[in-house]
């Protein structure tokens, strides 16, 4: 008995186009989803110097042959409290408008007076420039325990952008501008 011819012989091969519509649908959902989820923010950093826990060098037993001439120290400090920002140096404290309270009281809407701080720092840099202070480019920021991180960061931001120092590059003889306050630190004021 002869075999029955295979049914496969009658199958016709048809070429069909790839149906891209499901993939397109998926793409159309994925792209708006990713765009809506993404936050277009850029990360940035500010440098911070470490606080010094000690108030100064301890008593030294060695006496130098030639006593070095000590440079004057400015000791610029910013004290951030709930009432505002107080600017102080080693010898003086800048008081507010009424002769009392913080140098820059909080504004009526509860924000710190960042614009006022910028102007004060510019005035201070003009006053101390060329006076030979050893620490003229140093600021220590201290605050009450409850002061928020954003306020501290904004103050550091304002200080570092307040004034610039022009330095001459010895190799190229070009003037290079850099922030005046390069040494900004945080610390705890122990009274």
């Amino acid at each position: 008995m002869a075999f029955k011819p295979s049914a496969r012989r009658s199958i016709k091969v048809e070429s069909t186009d790839l149906d891209l519509r499901p993939i397109m649908n998926l793409m159309c959902i994925l792209i708006p989803l990713l765009l809506s989820c993404s936050q277009f923010v850029k990360n940035t950093v500010i440098e911070l110097n470490l606080p010094q826990l000690s108030s100064g060098p301890g008593p030294s037993t060695e006496k130098p042959d030639k006593p070095e001439q000590e440079k004057a120290r400015l000791g610029l400090k910013l004290v951030v409290t709930e009432k505002g920002i107080t600017i102080a140096g080693n010898t003086a404290v800048l008081t507010g408008q009424g002769g009392a309270g913080p140098t820059l009281p909080k504004l009526a809407d509860g924000r710190y007076d960042y614009e006022g701080l910028e102007k004060k720092m510019q005035d201070i840099t003009k006053m101390v420039s060329g006076k030979g202070f050893e620490d003229e480019r140093t600021v220590i920021i201290t605050a009450e325990d409850i002061i928020e991180y954003q306020a501290i960061v904004s103050i550091i931001d304002i200080i570092s952008g307040a004034a610039v120092k022009e330095l001459k590059d010895p190799s190229t003889n070009q003037i290079v501008k850099e922030p005046w306050f390069t040494n900004i630190g945080v610390g705890k004021l122990i009274i």
Binding site: I31, I46, Y114, I146
Partner: protein
């Protein structure tokens, strides 16, 4: 006089035209890949979450990859791993050092120092502090002091880049 019937219309045959989506597919694939890669790179350093909203910073400085100490509203993190609760840190009264963080930093410093000694991989003592904008100064100071005492002297505070007007307003 009657108009002559249009020869073109009379003999026109309707042909079915398929929409060619190849170019559109190419464009969408490129967009998708771009978005996916931008997601993966931005999440490499630190990821903002509900309890960790970074502060706004005006100064433009590109962050480098380094050891990250995070401070959320509830926990202090070391490289994304929670190590101590913020409440516990706040309760510490007589010391500026956070013992749990100090332990991790010491181990990390030892490892980095060992790599530098054995293979010459430079250790720049950099550390990124990624804190929530509402973290109290007390906690920040304790974290900073702990980092400094454990050989991480190059500290950077990380935040989101903002315009100066956003801070002043």
């Amino acid at each position: 006089m009657a108009f002559k019937p249009s020869a073109a219309k009379k003999h026109a045959t309707s042909t079915e035209a398929a929409l060619n989506m190849n170019s559109l597919m190419d464009m969408l694939t490129i967009m998708l890949l771009f978005l996916l890669t931008s997601f993966s790179t931005s999440g490499a350093l630190a990821t903002a979450s509900e309890g960790l909203q970074p502060p706004r910073i005006v100064t433009k400085n590109k962050p480098k990859k380094a050891v990250v100490v995070g401070i959320s509203k509830y926990h202090v993190f070391f490289n994304k791993e929670p190590i101590v609760e913020v409440e516990k840190v706040l309760a510490q009264k007589n010391t500026f050092l956070i013992a749990e963080l100090a332990e991790r930093l010491e181990a990390e410093a030892t490892k980095a120092q060992d790599l530098e000694d054995r293979f010459g991989i430079a250790w720049n003592r950099e550390l990124l502090v990624f804190g929530d904008k509402e973290v109290p100064f007390n906690v920040l100071l304790k974290v900073v002091v702990t980092c400094g005492r454990n050989q991480f002297s190059n500290l950077r505070l990380m935040g989101n880049l903002a315009a100066k007007q956003d801070i002043l307003q």
